[in-house]
């Protein structure tokens, strides 16, 4: 944990400076998670603030500081769900609609090359954003937490409150759906 359990208890009893300490400790992690989940830099702070506002008003409901982190992740996931529900772009992008750079980015991404220049990075971001928009928000969030944020199955199990086997099945299906979305786009573009 990034803060002492006592700090959480102080914040629960209404100590604003203790709450501020929590925000400072978790700000970077939460904003990073939100950024990876929603994929739009311009709205990250807005969603991140919403997470901490919800935390502020619901902190008293937390039974024990030991479960604080999974609980904060759940708040973050729910805020991201709400955002994605509201702002979900009704896109039906086909590979043919993608720019040449994005098509090239798909090749780069699939080849596993790591060193990319800024322009190619931008194209990879856009491509994955489009692919993740084509699966459900639940799949998007789960895949982001596992594949992008790098959370372990144990950590995810604490957040989702399900056993690791059930998570493995969900992950397998989510990955399959992303791959199918990619194949569908690729076929339409005859890549």
């Amino acid at each position: 944990m990034l803060v002492e359990p006592e700090t959480i208890e102080f914040a629960q009893s209404g100590d604003d400076s203790a709450f501020n300490t929590i925000v400072l400790a978790y700000r970077k992690r939460i904003l990073g998670t939100v950024y990876r989940m929603i994929g739009r830099g311009e709205d990250v702070e807005d969603v991140g603030q919403e997470v901490f506002v919800r935390l502020y008003f619901s902190l008293k409901q937390l039974r024990t500081p030991q479960v604080f982190e999974p609980w904060l992740y759940r708040l973050t996931i729910n805020a991201c769900y709400d955002y994605l529900r509201k702002k979900r772009r009704m896109i039906d992008v086909r590979m043919a609609d993608l720019s040449e750079e994005q098509v090239a980015a798909a090749d780069i991404a699939l080849s596993g090359k790591k060193a990319l220049d800024e322009k190619k990075k931008e194209s990879v971001r856009e491509l994955l954003d489009i692919l993740l928009d084509r699966v459900s928000k639940e799949d998007r969030v789960l895949l982001t937490l596992k594949e992008v944020q790098g959370l372990s199955l144990k950590e995810l199990s604490g957040i989702y409150e399900v056993n690791t086997n059930a998570l493995k099945v969900r992950l397998f299906r989510a990955r399959k759906r992303v791959f199918e979305a990619y194949n569908e786009m690729a076929q339409k573009n005859e890549v």
């Binding site: 700000r27 904003l31 830099g41 990250v44 901490f52 506002v53 008003f57 791959f179």
Partner: protein, 114 residues
């Protein structure tokens, strides 16, 4: 089997590239002041929300109290033994006071039939 492995590899590569492309998000210096402003505004909203939630109940209680008040003013006191005594003259009260229980009941009956 090979197809599944290849698909898995593709997805892994895609996410690795995405991870590298995303980089770190740097919060602006305005993050904390804006967060506290938001908490403050939500705090006042939540106070009003509580008031709004209670207002129908408060209105109902006020109505019930008003109805009770009107009812108590509208209906006169019940005609009881005590009220009969209160409405009697000074002489009647003195008479009643000097009587025993039996005579008092008879007198009261006569008074009521009058």
């Amino acid at each position: 089997m090979d197809k599944i492995r290849k698909g898995d590899e593709c997805i892994d590569n895609m996410f690795a590239a995405y991870r590298a492309a995303l980089g770190e998000f740097r919060p602006s210096p305005e993050f904390l002041p804006m967060l506290w402003a938001r908490i403050e505004s939500r705090r006042s909203v939540s106070w009003f929300t509580h008031l709004a939630a209670w207002s129908p109940r408060l209105a109902l209680a006020a109505l019930a109290f008003a109805a009770l008040l009107i009812a108590s003013l509208w209906f006169p006191y019940e005609q009881s033994h005590e009220s009969a005594v209160l409405e009697s003259s000074y002489v009647d009260v003195l008479t009643l006071d000097s009587m025993d229980e039996h005579d008092r009941a008879l007198w009261q009956l006569a008074e009521n039939n009058r």
